[in-house]
Symmetry: D2
Subunit: 470 residues, 4 copies
């Protein structure tokens, strides 16, 4: 499953609120509901109209922010960020929002996504004397804004945005306004809502439900929203030509209670399960899903086939950064960490096991073997997405092509490696159909690059091996 | 739902291992899998054959034990405990296992359950000069053992057990042996397993799956197991006359992947859902369960009725002791903490909402209102247990009769209070049937006292208002 | 110097206040001024007239008590304790005050000193079924009080005190009164003061100055003070026959700003220095003292001899439990931890180095060698007390006789071992004279046992090797 | 006394070592001995020849660095810093060394002192697009170096140094070399030593004694030392015209065991005391010094006058950032925090109280009143420096002129305010004479600006109100 990739880079969550007396606390709850998008670190920056002030740290939202810290973040507007665990480039400094104080005022930025030309831009800026504090893409945008010459702040932001390439959802805040920008391909989810008189932006709509806000609309590809005490206004900084929402947001990342471009994620996943039922009829006794992302898929599959859904796999909660890893000897004796099979459910049964994807195959092999040891007589693996054959350059570190099990292997070869009785991937067409972005009268594209190799944007040489430390 | 009771007293989890080179680490993983039974505090005591040594603290397993702490707990045998948050009687001292050092050796104890005559015994012991360090029932047993005169340790333990009344699963450890005792009515789950050459005991069998152990058998009511380096032997310290396993273990407490007396909890819950489908046919568009305990019930109900199961309610993860509570004003503005409705799923729908029980009714009212605000046109509440009309004296603090909404109200009155369109409780017979302890050839009783008022043991005056601080 | 003994057992400090609205905070400052008497752990128990409540922990006063913790200790009376680092017997449980809750009320105790018959009493109590939570002497008294039968609390306390032997200053608190007891030989300092309407007791009078209290009088040997809301009254629980204040309180333990039985400690030390000048005339260029206890002595010696006092040795501040110990290789390269010589002061000079005592000799040897490496041409060591030839059983763990360098060696042998040019100990008579307890019209004895072997009380077999773990 | 100034800005300590296998640990002990120069924060950056790596944090050396942290700082060279508590401009980001990573390598910097043209330089750099991460002067130098064009690193450092004005001792480290620079007036102490084959630099020589290093020589005004694996070489980046060592380093800042330009600080202070004896003969019974800086002065005064030195004032140790401040009511009742009088020493006595300086006068008034309340019949205050009449722009935040009690008041007026019986300041000439920099054949100047108003460098408009937040 996709979670096996530790290096998921920059797949983060952003949240902002403008014009609310308890802005920091609202942001705290918003970020908490986006916690699944990033557990490495988190931060909040507020403005009281006069000064930017922030708190950030490594760890979960509940670990980084104390009640005291939130109370000291007085202000009526705030932006916040949760950051995913990354293979490299971690550490306190890289936790966002980044906050820059200058004698002419402060600037705070955070983003979700990945800039494909960050390395090149950084070389140029350093050659001109810029000093970078972090290894984060976000800082590149800050320097581009600051170097933007004598034009207005808004013009400098638009110029800077026009120079960066890739997938991004940016929040930018000064003492007096918040700017919200989505890349021209609309590759990352970003929505605007209202909470009383305040405006709220979030990576996922689940945050609206948590804080009691009302959904207004999704931010448009290439749009720059400027929010201040007079309300919000919209400008386009780029032509939105080729809409390409990341498919993995539906398949894996987002919370089931979020809607992406109007489509509920849980419903989309149930439909993926129903589509799997159409594409692959299996004789089996029980259906089970790998928690959490594949539960909805499994229920959809069970509903469509009549095979009963059972909890054949249990996810251990409370596993955080302080969890003690089992010694090698305990691991060999069968100590489970994250997932455990439910013997009472799978023993003597033919099991359909649903997962979201196969990246390196090691996790799938472990789960299949776990189910068999618990007594499953057959394990049929069905995957709610097609084989991942190509790296992602937009924020999901599916590493180099060499590490992708499907890059040069047939389905049968993969099946053999993971030890399943049968293995079925969903077809690209079936997946697109089930998610349902096509059904709409108006066309709404989605990024299928990791399956098809057709990238929606140009790829730069320096990103061929993405996220390598330089 | 039952989780609304903060004062759930002594509903804890115990885990022990004898004869394993990494006893403390095994216990760590075992306790981690029992974390749902108690989040207030946790402890581990080990023996290396010469000395008992322990670590304990308030908080989660992952918070209390550092890798260093576990490493320093060298020894080949261990007992551990997770403790539920209690209204009173908390604090470091009450965290178990209790460890007593004396010049003749150490004694460590922990238990799950509640002694109904603890107060009376404590008065007698204090009158004789005993000093209690804790307000825990467990310490009463320790004093009874120590005062047991000149007979053998085993005889003194058996005498002490014969003096305590109530529901309990005890682990008692000295330098050289571990003793395991279950109350004569068998009111708490307790199972024995094997991990290589080591013996393992646990409140729930899910811990066996996690540590890779093999289930041997359940501990018998009134049985005292003595485990040492020669293996285990069994003695009965009481006649097991009236078997009465706590029904709530199936309905609410236990993990779905545990088996209690051979019955899988997830399966029992699905059957409760199917039985509800038989007892109460409802016209509705979607079925949703209150996480986590009612998900299985809802899936069973959906399977039996054909109404699709959807994720209409989402539970916020990561909520621990450090979570910042929303201010009153934010709460009124609709900030959700633990549960949030999924608008995309319930809007415009007739919703069947499944919960495990209704205690005070406040939580149910809040969830119903949450669903309606999210657009549900009808909310039909179905409960997978009968009305709770009587307090529990065996470890589940359903408080005084006055606080139980069902103690003197009709179902219709409760429905009105919680604001549901319809409200149905499962019948006592239906529940017993569905859980399936009756189906067996051999009779296996269960405690129904909170529903029927028929207590399986004598109740002492001092326990009429249970858990009052003295 | 005496500080080289890590195992200084039970040389602690106590502080209590009765009848002040900010009792916990007063106690905090009092304990802070007694911090030099114990850095291992500290605790405070308060009463609000209804309930005892406490906080304790390992570490310094400023580490253990947060502002929040002190604020939560609401109450008008309090007792507190600072505990010395001990070789064994440490840990959270042993930190005092010990607090025992029973159904008839609470009991808190703490003490400074050492009971010589604790082991024997503990054996007897355990044989009768008592369970000890700690390895602390203090708990023995608690059990003796609790076992005292049906008589009044005060009678039971007096009976208990009559059973314990040794050197002690006890504070005992219930919801309604504080009891203060000093052993019949008066071996430990303990004084009574007044702070507005409140009564204050402390191990050292420096705490009075810190909290702004007024000294009333010293507690008498064998006296039991009972303090409650009606004031204080005095009863004698034992005949005070043989007054024997610990000499080391003047020489080493107490703060220079404290008065013990009316004699200022700094002044006593200056007089020790002047007496040294009388007993041993040395030709030298500078006098320097080993900080902190010997600074006053060195100044007295300089004043009497005319040799200038200089800071030839500097003590590193801020060295606490978190200080990282140098690696062996760094230690060999000369990294200093606690003391460093001042080259600019000692280079090319004949140095008189004053210390309070020589126990094992290792510290003295290190300091002498340090001074010589820094360029001192001669180092003359003068000690403000006589050779320590006998173990202490009253709270100062001068270990077994074998470890005392002076137990079977001549002064010349010791001089050779420590590498000094000359070595002089103060005579017993000179020391007694200089401290000045004899000058008084009324005779006030002092304990000289470690110098002379004449113990003021009977010594029990189990204390021959004191503080051995049993 | 000078310690009453909370806003002491940038009076910090630096330490560096090049070529030692345990560089981080050596730096840890060095910084620990410089802890008196700054308690707000501390950091260490190491290089292993390939990469710079650092740890920093707010708090004491023993609080910020764990043993694990030091161990992970593998490398053979290191620079470190301790930072003084500042009124504004604190926080994690400002803790030094600052560490900048770029694609062409790393750069770490720290300094002690204050740049008088930092604000102007910062405006210029920001106008050119530089983004500042901190409000620290140090970062200005980093940007100047980075912007220095295509010349060599050394040339860019020299150019950058030529652009900054003020008082500074800089350490600059890359992967391959350490650079050490002192301002052209030599206003801050900075010395070079040797530890085996390694080179060591430090703000104060006491660090040499602690780590076992040998003093080589002081760094020269306007000198740039370049240290690498081939040894060290010296270049001058500026003409040293007007030597002006900060007088307060002798009077207040430095540790008594340090030598500044060859003069031992304790000795200098004793001489200040002897000079006071010459300038002001007083009839008194005891002399006492305000700890810690005035103890040496008091001893010198006592030696010269024959009035006995006594410990009339005691400083409370262990007071750190976690110390709980007394409530207002307790403060009024006389709770002492930092200093307490020794009643047994001052009662009924005519007291000479020695302090280092008077800034606002509030501390002096409190001490005088404390001594009188403790029974002193007369209190004669003597100050070991002249009246401070002018603000310092070189790192000692004596604030604006308005806050300096001596800026527009006569000695008699100040005496009345602080409530002393007599008040004497040392004369400028007497102070210069006593410290003894003049005695030398070669002339070595010292900065007397705060006394005389004659600043050794040009002062820039933006520094007239130093340290104001912009």
């Amino acid at each position: 499953m996709l979670a096996e990739i530790k290096g998921l880079n920059e797949e983060c969550g952003v949240f902002g609120v403008w014009g609310h007396p308890e802005a920091a606390q609202i942001t705290y709850y918003g970020l908490h509901s986006l916690q699944h998008r990033g557990q490495e670190g988190t931060g909040i920056v507020v403005t009281d109209g006069k000064k930017l002030k922030g708190v950030k740290g490594e760890g979960l939202v509940t670990e980084v922010f104390s009640a005291d810290a939130i109370q000291e973040l007085e202000g009526t507007s705030a932006i916040g960020h949760v950051r995913y665990a990354t293979a490299g480039g971690g550490g306190y400094d890289n936790v966002q929002p980044l906050l820059f104080q200058s004698q002419s005022g402060g600037l705070a930025l955070c983003h979700n996504g990945n800039l494909t030309n960050a390395t090149a831009l950084k070389y140029q800026l350093e050659a001109q004397g810029s000093i970078f504090q972090t290894s984060s893409d976000t800082e590149v945008l800050a320097h581009l804004i600051k170097r933007g010459g004598v034009s207005s702040h808004k013009e400098r932001v638009k110029n800077a945005l026009s120079m960066v390439k890739g997938a991004y959802a940016f929040l930018i805040m000064t003492e007096n306004e918040m700017m919200v920008a989505l890349d021209p391909n609309g590759m990352r989810p970003l929505s605007l809502g209202k909470l009383g008189d305040a405006y709220v932006v979030t990576s996922e709509t689940c945050a609206f439900d948590i804080v009691g806000a009302e959904f207004i609309r999704d931010v448009l590809p290439g749009e720059l929203l400027i929010i201040d005490d007079n309300g919000f206004r919209s400008e386009m900084f780029a032509m939105a030509s080729n809409i390409a929402m990341c498919t993995m947001e539906y398949v894996y990342f987002s919370r089931p209670d979020s809607n992406i471009n109007g489509i509920n994620v849980h419903t989309a996943r149930k439909n993926l399960g129903k589509q799997l039922a159409v594409e692959v009829p299996i004789e089996a006794d029980v259906v089970t899903g790998v928690p959490d992302s594949s539960i909805s898929v499994a229920i959809g599959y069970a509903e469509a086939t009549g095979i009963p859904y059972e909890m054949g796999l249990i996810k251990n909660k409370y596993v955080g950064r302080t969890f003690i890893q089992p010694s090698q000897s305990l691991r060999e004796q069968g100590v489970k960490m994250k997932l455990s099979p439910v013997r009472g459910v799978v023993e003597g049964k033919r099991v359909v096991m649903v997962d979201d994807s196969i990246v390196r195959g090691t996790t799938s092999r472990r789960i299949v073997s776990m189910l068999k040891e618990a007594g499953a007589t057959e394990v049929h693996v069905i995957i709610s997405s097609p084989p991942i054959k190509n790296p992602c350059f937009y924020g999901i570190d599916t590493s180099t092509k060499e590490e992708l099990i499907a890059s040069d292997r047939s389905v049968e070869e993969i099946r053999e490696i993971i030890g399943a009785d049968t293995l079925t991937f969903l077809s690209v067409e079936g997946m697109v159909e089930a998610i349902g972005r096509k059904e709409d009268g108006e066309h709404r594209g989605q990024c299928l690059a990791c399956f098809t190799g057709k990238y929606p944007t140009e790829i730069y040489p320096s990103t061929v091996h993405p996220y390598e430390k330089v």
